[in-house]
């Protein structure tokens, strides 16, 4: 039996007797998961309880089968975190920040090389690597925060509103960077109220409102449940070995029985309309890095429908 990555049981947090998180009982298996909800829904409080920063009023949390209340240090060895409001040691350079966090996570390979590769990866201009962080712009700080979260091989990275302070072009870049890490096997847990950005990354969601679960599940299952039948197939980055989008298109178009309309092949994705999701999934499983998700905007529609109920 597969153990969930995160499991909560009757998790509750009260502030002055008002429940901010109310009896949250969930099991997260998916490697990419998002908490969605309006401001004040309890998303950040839940994440902070996962990280051991906030003690629950009642209930339990298990991450990688370890009880967070008694083993937060051991769990934090495996977790990277990007907070919504990222702060830093202003007199220390970006390189020193990454070296410190890499050291603290007991990274046992070449730290210098690891730090340089992450400085490159996060996209901070090389002339700022050794400059004090107080000279960094908000966007550069956010990039540094992302590198801090991912450095030192964490198994799970928790991102709290990771794209809220980033301009539209920067968002696309950061989403791609997060997806790249996800493809390399890092589990991602995101909290956000910007649904459009999140839907490109996550496989499962939990919509919270006033501390209670409104909706929980796999994005594809939820799309089906809400009668959405448009999906998009993408090839993940670094996936040259498994064939291109054209090969996937050829495979899909041959299965006319399961399609409601002719698939549309675009530069970066194939758009299909089908009520037989299982069959589509079985076709694309032959392509190792092909990924199917509801068409862009579906998650937002699901969110609005849920919140209106």
């Amino acid at each position: 039996m597969i153990n969930p990555m995160i499991k909560t049981h009757n998790l509750t947090k009260n502030y002055e007797n008002i429940p901010v998180v109310d009896n949250l009982s969930i099991e997260i298996f998916d490697s990419s998961f998002a908490f969605l909800g309006p401001n004040g829904a309890g998303k950040t409080t839940t994440l902070l309880m996962f990280l051991g920063l906030i003690k629950p009023t009642s209930g339990s949390i298990y991450i990688f089968n370890l009880d967070v209340i008694n083993h937060s240090v051991k769990i934090n060895e495996k977790i990277g975190y990007l907070p919504e409001n990222l702060g830093s040691f202003s007199n220390i350079s970006g390189r020193e920040h990454l070296t410190f966090f890499c050291n603290m996570r007991e990274y046992n390979q070449d730290i210098y090389e690891e730090v340089e590769s992450f400085l490159n990866w996060c996209g901070i201009n090389q002339r700022f690597w050794d400059k004090k962080v107080k000279t960094y712009s908000q966007g550069m700080l956010q990039r540094l925060g992302l590198a801090i979260a991912f450095i030192g091989n964490p198994r799970l990275v928790i991102l709290d509103e990771p794209l809220s302070n980033i301009d539209p072009l920067g968002r696309i870049d950061l989403i791609n960077k997060i997806k790249l890490k996800q493809n390399q096997g890092v589990n991602i847990l995101i909290s956000s109220h910007i649904i459009h950005d999140v839907e490109q990354i996550v496989g499962s969601i939990c919509i919270l409102n006033k501390g209670k679960v409104q909706l929980f599940g796999d994005v594809l299952d939820l799309a089906r449940k809400f009668d959405f039948n448009e999906f998009e197939i993408r090839i993940m980055q670094n996936a040259e070995e498994s064939g291109g989008l054209g090969d996937v298109y050829d495979a899909v178009i041959n299965e006319k029985d399961v399609l409601l309309d002719k698939p549309i092949l675009l530069d970066d994705k194939i758009i299909i309309k089908s009520n037989a999701l299982k069959e589509i999934i079985s076709i694309i499983t032959g392509f190792k890095n092909a990924n199917i998700s509801p068409i862009s905007g579906t998650l937002e529609k699901i969110y609005h429908k849920t919140m209106r109920c």
Binding site: T44, T45, L48, L51, G52, L53, I54, K55, N70, H71, S72, V73, K74, N76, E77, I79, Y81, P83, N85, L86, G87, S88, F89, S90, N91, I92, E96, F100, F101, N103, M104, R105, E106, K132, G145, I148
Partner: protein, 263 residues
Amino acid sequence: MIERIQINKKRLIRLISFFLRSYRRDLRTIISIILSIIAPIYLINIIVNLSDSIIINQEFVDNYLFWGSFITYSIIIFRFISIIITSDIISGDFSHKRAMILYTLPISRGEIIFSKAITMMIYLFILQSLTLIISSLILWIMLGLIVSFNVFLLGLLISYLSALFYFSLTLLLSGTTRNTIVSALIPLIYVYIGPQIFSIFDLNQLSYVFHENNGRIFLQYFIYGDFTGLNIEQISSFIILCVLPIIIIIITIFFFKQIDIRI
């Protein structure tokens, strides 16, 4: 095993060296250095204004110039320095929004606070040692006499113990209030207004300055080598000087482990 009794020495040392590096480049370090220069300048001023009739010998240098004048002044200066540099030691993590990444490191909160305390103790020790060494050099250059080693060590001890108390008190306030201004103001009020208020209500035992003075008298017996007149009040005050900072640091760690951290 429950993690609170596990200490990862390697991570602790890394944390302390990181904190030392970040304080080294801080504005407060520059302010502290400038303030710590005041005491040697004061010493120079006393030496320059010494009357010609005074016989300058080792006893005069040890007891009057170093212990009687310089150390008294140094204690006052370092009270202030320790409050200034410690006021945002924990609250700064919240005001600069770095608490969320710092306290999710794979190291317990207790160890983080402990390493911050150790960092500050090292920092204060270096600063005080340098100030005392500079003042000894001033005495040697200007009078040709160097302060006796035991007097130097006792001076460093009393000055350090005093600084440690104000540091620990400020650390506690910084951790509990998470407000830098309050963390600095309360110890300053306690040190400068407190003794007068306690004196009015005959509550001198509650004044740290009272114990500090008794502790100085206690150490003075070691300088003179004459222990007649030493009383239990002076001994207990010295014990309070040594133990109180440790108790306050333990209370801070215990308290800080219980709170919720969010910005």
